[in-house]
């Protein structure tokens, strides 16, 4: 199959029935593998990795903080992609997928902010600082709340999808800033990337990177968070599709008397 044909085949999933049938089939795989990766990764990291020579046992927070922060940003980017699909091609499933993903993004951002604050207290001597990365993450969190509130506030679902898509485009600036704020403004308490940096992984740069002792369980936790995110988005999008169908059926029932 050519790339163009494969890309065209993707649009079949814009059909709610096809989406529901496929997601029901693949969901058990995502639930089980995400659970397995998270349990093994967290147990490995918590019980079987040594304390860091500088940070002591607080280094174990990395297995939750980094994957949650990664997913907080990538969740918004996924919402951006599906919002663009909605704005351009008007596929309802894509708008509902964005809506379904937002609460996941809220929880991921909250975990990143909470673990960051708990970790920051003993390491930096403060729970919070108006540092570029921390501040852009807080703004991203507020954008998530605004996005969910906007969906809830508008009765007509197509209008809500239009407006939330525009909000998503604007908020993308902060999703990208959350990732690159440290590089843009070389100040603040938060360190630069030490995990997802090409040079750090290949060992071609000289900056400090996460030791392999911590890196492998961390990688497993990241994979677990990604798989959990996919499972939750598929499941929650299915719920949104059904909720939309209930609304349509009740409207039809009312019209028919």
């Amino acid at each position: 199959m050519s790339i163009a044909a494969k890309a065209n085949a993707l649009w079949e999933y814009a059909n709610p029935r096809k989406f529901l049938a496929t997601s029901e089939r693949v969901l058990p795989f995502f639930w089980i593998t995400s659970g397995a990766c998270l349990v093994v990764g967290l147990v490995w990291g918590f019980f079987f990795t040594p304390d860091d020579y500088k940070q002591g046992s607080t280094v174990k927070i990395i297995y939750l903080h980094v994957p949650a922060a990664l997913m907080a940003i990538n969740c918004w980017l996924m919402m951006l992609a599906t919002s663009l699909v909605w704005l351009v091609r008007r596929h309802h499933v894509s708008a509902l997928a964005a809506r379904a993903a937002a609460p996941i993004g809220i929880v991921m951002t909250l975990i990143a902010l909470a673990t960051g604050a708990i970790w920051g207290q003993p390491m930096w001597g403060t729970w919070w600082a108006w540092d570029p990365r921390l501040t852009s993450f807080l703004i991203l969190f507020l954008f998530y709340l605004g996005y969910v509130a906007l969906w809830e506030a508008i009765e007509d679902s197509d209008t809500a999808a239009d407006l939330t898509s525009v909000l998503c485009l604007v908020g993308s600036v902060f999703a990208i800033l959350s990732r690159y704020a440290v590089n843009f403004w070389n100040q603040g308490l938060h360190q630069g990337a030490s995990v997802m940096r090409a040079g750090a992984i290949t060992g071609t740069d000289t900056e400090e990177k996460v030791s392999n002792i911590y890196f492998y369980p961390l990688l497993l936790c990241i994979v677990g968070f990604v798989l959990l995110f996919i499972a939750l988005v598929l499941y929650r999008t299915g719920t949104e599709i059904r909720a939309r169908r209930i609304k349509a059926l009740l409207t039809r029932e009312r019209v028919n008397g």
């Binding site: 046992s57 607080t58 174990k60 609460p103 975990i111 939750l232 169908r245 209930i246």
Partner: protein
Amino acid sequence: MIPDLGKYADTVLWSYVVSIGLLIVLVGFSVIRGRKVRAEMEKVEQRMTRNG
């Protein structure tokens, strides 16, 4: 069973409790709402089929 976390034990344990707790709440709410909506849809569909 729990490794010696030294003077940062509270810090590490609170991070795990808060994060895992939030993940459980997220999955729990998603599944509960999913089941409720699915049951409601089946009910509405059955009613509409019965009423033609």
